[in-house]
């Protein structure tokens, strides 16, 4: 049987009475509901993240430079070309 990690209540008011044993095999309504909530929350976050990525074009594999960065890089590139000429 796997050893259950140390219990750390996520919210105040969650208490364990002495003698309670927690393990993965034993049904635990609190943990089941927590898992459901976490799964729903993760799915929601993933959906939001995908939407945001599509809207802001961040779906590209590398972050795109800002307007200020682009201006600086172009200016520097031109300067280098002029110096190399």
């Amino acid at each position: 049987m796997s050893e259950f990690p140390q219990y750390q209540p996520a919210h105040e008011g969650t208490e364990l009475s002495s003698g309670d044993e927690l393990d993965f095999m034993k049904p635990n309504p609190n943990l089941e509901s927590l898992a459901v909530i976490r799964a729903a929350r993760d799915a929601h976050a993933a959906a939001l993240s995908k939407e945001a990525a599509l809207e802001t074009h961040e779906i590209l594999p590398v972050p795109l430079p800002s307007l200020a960065e682009i201006g600086d890089k172009l200016d520097e590139t031109r300067r280098q070309y002029r110096e190399a000429a």
Partner: protein, 143 residues
């Protein structure tokens, strides 16, 4: 090319349009020997292509003038008269200021800001690869 267009182009680009194409012949004139103004003209050629087909009789320029300034210039003939419009986009810490002749200054927001940012990113990608032959991410030579 109509004389009026030649004069307008000369005013805009500062050179005789009939000789302008020669500047783009990279083999005849190595890129490294171009002036900064000529480099900007090359960049503007790419910039003008970012927004789809240019209407017949129109001329469009879009380029990065300096680290803080982007220029959109468009000119066309209307009833035999040359019309033109220039918009300057100034990059400030608090946002991008849109400056047009005869119009009040305003900071870009919403879709217009998104469109400018995306256009600048596309411009940067193409200019770095096609003119300077550099990797846009690293700035290193592609060859």
């Amino acid at each position: 090319m109509a004389a009026v267009f030649k004069r307008a182009l000369k005013l805009l680009i500062g050179t005789d349009p009939s000789t302008r194409d020669l500047m783009y012949a990279k083999k005849a004139r190595p890129l490294g020997r171009l002036t900064e103004r000529e480099l900007l003209q090359l960049e503007s050629e790419i910039g003008s292509q970012l927004f789809g087909d240019i209407p017949k009789g129109h001329r469009r320029s879009f380029f990065n003038l300096d680290p803080k300034t982007w220029i959109w210039h468009e000119e066309w003939l209307e009833d035999g008269t040359l019309k033109q419009a220039t918009t300057r986009y100034e990059v400030h810490e608090q946002g991008v200021l849109k400056v047009q002749e005869g119009a009040r200054y305003e900071f870009l927001e919403g879709q217009e800001l998104d469109n400018l940012t995306l256009a600048a990113q596309m411009y940067y990608e193409r200019v770095m690869r096609e003119i300077y032959k550099r990797d846009p991410q690293t700035g290193q030579n592609l060859s």
